[in-house]
Symmetry: C2
Subunit: 444 residues, 2 copies
Amino acid sequence: MIDPEIKARLDKLLDSERMSEMRGALMMLNVVDIADYMDELDKGRMLKVYRILPKDISADVFAYLSDEQKQKLMESIGDSETARLISDMFIDDAVDFLEELPANLVRRVLANVNEEQRRNINTFLQYPDNSAGSIMTMEFCDLHAGLTAGEAIKYIRTHSVDKETIYTIYVLDSTRHLMGTLPLRKLLLSDENTPIESLISTSFIYAHTLDDQEQVAELVRKYDLMSVPILDTEDRMVGIVTADDIMDVIEQEATEDIEKMNALLPSEDDYIRTSPVKLAKNRLPWLLFMMVSSILTETIIDKFSGELTIAFSACIPMLMGTGGNCGSQSSTLAIRGLALGEIKPSDAFQVLWKEFRVSLIVSAALAILSFFIQRFVFARTVMEAGTISCAMICTVILAKSIGCTLPLLAKKLKLDPALMAAPLITTIVDVCSLLILVLFASAI
Amino acid sequence: MIDPEIKARLDKLLDSERMSEMRGALMMLNVVDIADYMDELDKGRMLKVYRILPKDISADVFAYLSDEQKQKLMESIGDSETARLISDMFIDDAVDFLEELPANLVRRVLANVNEEQRRNINTFLQYPDNSAGSIMTMEFCDLHAGLTAGEAIKYIRTHSVDKETIYTIYVLDSTRHLMGTLPLRKLLLSDENTPIESLISTSFIYAHTLDDQEQVAELVRKYDLMSVPILDTEDRMVGIVTADDIMDVIEQEATEDIEKMNALLPSEDDYIRTSPVKLAKNRLPWLLFMMVSSILTETIIDKFSGELTIAFSACIPMLMGTGGNCGSQSSTLAIRGLALGEIKPSDAFQVLWKEFRVSLIVSAALAILSFFIQRFVFARTVMEAGTISCAMICTVILAKSIGCTLPLLAKKLKLDPALMAAPLITTIVDVCSLLILVLFASAI
């Protein structure tokens, strides 16, 4: 959010139509803040601000506007100026924006950009969602082998105005295969007459257009990279993914995992801008699933209502709640461990053994506390309190075993481990804990 | 993990003591992969590999070793060589490592580094955990005002070998106050005789040493920065935080939130390396809290056992489960929305109104399904099935209201919204849903 004081000052200049002062004031801000300011204006006022932005930053500001404001602005400025903005944007930002537009608008805008750009944009639009291709940009700095360091620097100084990053230079052969990478710092710090072939690193890290963006994020994070070269299916270099886009991927993947782990279908939409109907649609599947599966618990309670004295039925919520939480603790650690690469599916036995030992400690503490609560708060008999504590120990051990095993199993089967989180685990553990209680209750 | 084929080849060279070939093979790898390889060796073999690493990359490799291996290596190479490694590391990596060592080892190592470095490291060790100071590095590229672009480039080419990044240049005045920032690309692309003052941007983004690392991450993400200048309490520039460290912060903060949201105390330790006792300690507080609070649900069931016919007591798990999930869905969206800055505490009424509309849709669908399940699967009376559906509607509305309100309230009170997640919400919703059921049951 933009500072309220700055916003008030800008509003005042805008209201009194002091546009040249306004322009000066805007120039003191970061483009992200200018876009933030414009996001909160109505269509007419936004257009006024847009008109006074210098041409060289207007595409940058446009790229940071919300999709809603971008569309409003497009309607005001017409197709040819929109095409100019699109041409000035980095291709990854342009494609992100175009993907949100209705198809007929995309066609109209693309009709106004030049042939080469249209071809490029169309290629990018075809990369699958969440692939490396869909987040890459083609404005990278490439050099051909055979130059000296001095010539390379001169070339970069004259040809690199529009590159998204010039800090890693990609050296390509004549068939556009990547020979090696060269950090600009190394180029700058070396002697002018050194041939660049002797400076490049040939053990570079790369990814392919169809790789999942999560894999690319993993590379960037592991190797502390600023950008990753992206190769097409024939291993020709076609683009780069930069660290700033990777940060968004990391945030987005974490959000998706968190949503899946809490009985929500993942969604990339901003909460405030999503309609209640759409929000309800993302929530209902798990809720309906759990309601249907609760037929099981209800049947068990129905069938064993004779054995379940008040003491036992009154402790069902406590037992199920503890089981559910124990299971979700274990599944959370397993899911997150898998996501961060700290745990592999082949560690299953090690994890299970560790969870077993944890359950012994945890369940012992809980069983003792439970015994005292049942005996002295609710005045249950020693037999009843003891039975509940035993059921508690079994429930905790079972919940933790299921909780850690299912995510690892999912990973092994190439499913998403995050789906094996609280909602599913709780449903399974609910039934198991109830069965355990009924078994103990029938036994005495 | 390092590629198994490469590992096998290296193992073979190491076993047959072909050390110069081994050295050549290692040089083909990224330092991260070399460290990965060394992580899996025993002490003796690791030392052999370390000995053949060229001096200029040994500190880099050391920085990427696991803490365990670092300590083993330290024991083998002695204090003065450790001090050499520490001196060659970026200060943020060195400090991270020293923080994990026992105090007497830290003193021994620091006794071997030079005076200035010891003073720096000691300053860094004092920054609080998770502050900007604790993740910053002091190896940044600073220039004094008054140079031309050509002079600046020449200066950087001769003085910047050891800087963590040279891609943003910080222009300081004589009192080390930051006048402006200058991207290297802008410097390179401009005329040699331009004074750098005319190139710098004075509307730079910065943070202070004591700011929370999460705030710094937010700046980097929002403004797509590669590094952020960090100022001390007197506004003198003392360091930078780079994007690669921010990625780790983003991952770590997401992990912490996920852990808090699933009834775990947050921990930065690797799961596999944490002892069962420590894992149990992180899990017990919430479990004990929830067991104690379940005294409430048990009391309610006890007191109203007369009104709770089998039909009603059998549906308690279903009702509580649905309520808990509805609450956790809403609290998840609110917590994540707050973390990503999509929602502000002042949006409370908007969020509440939206959640209310979502609850109407969701609860209507659930109530209808529930009615049919109760009536036709369990053959309850129309009165019973209807009462359960009504209790369901009230529970869902209440759960969603509580779920979205508590995180916003926590944020308003400057508490951590993630604490208001599933475990707490479920506990509250359990009691409420049971009370609702009992009220309806007594009414008929």
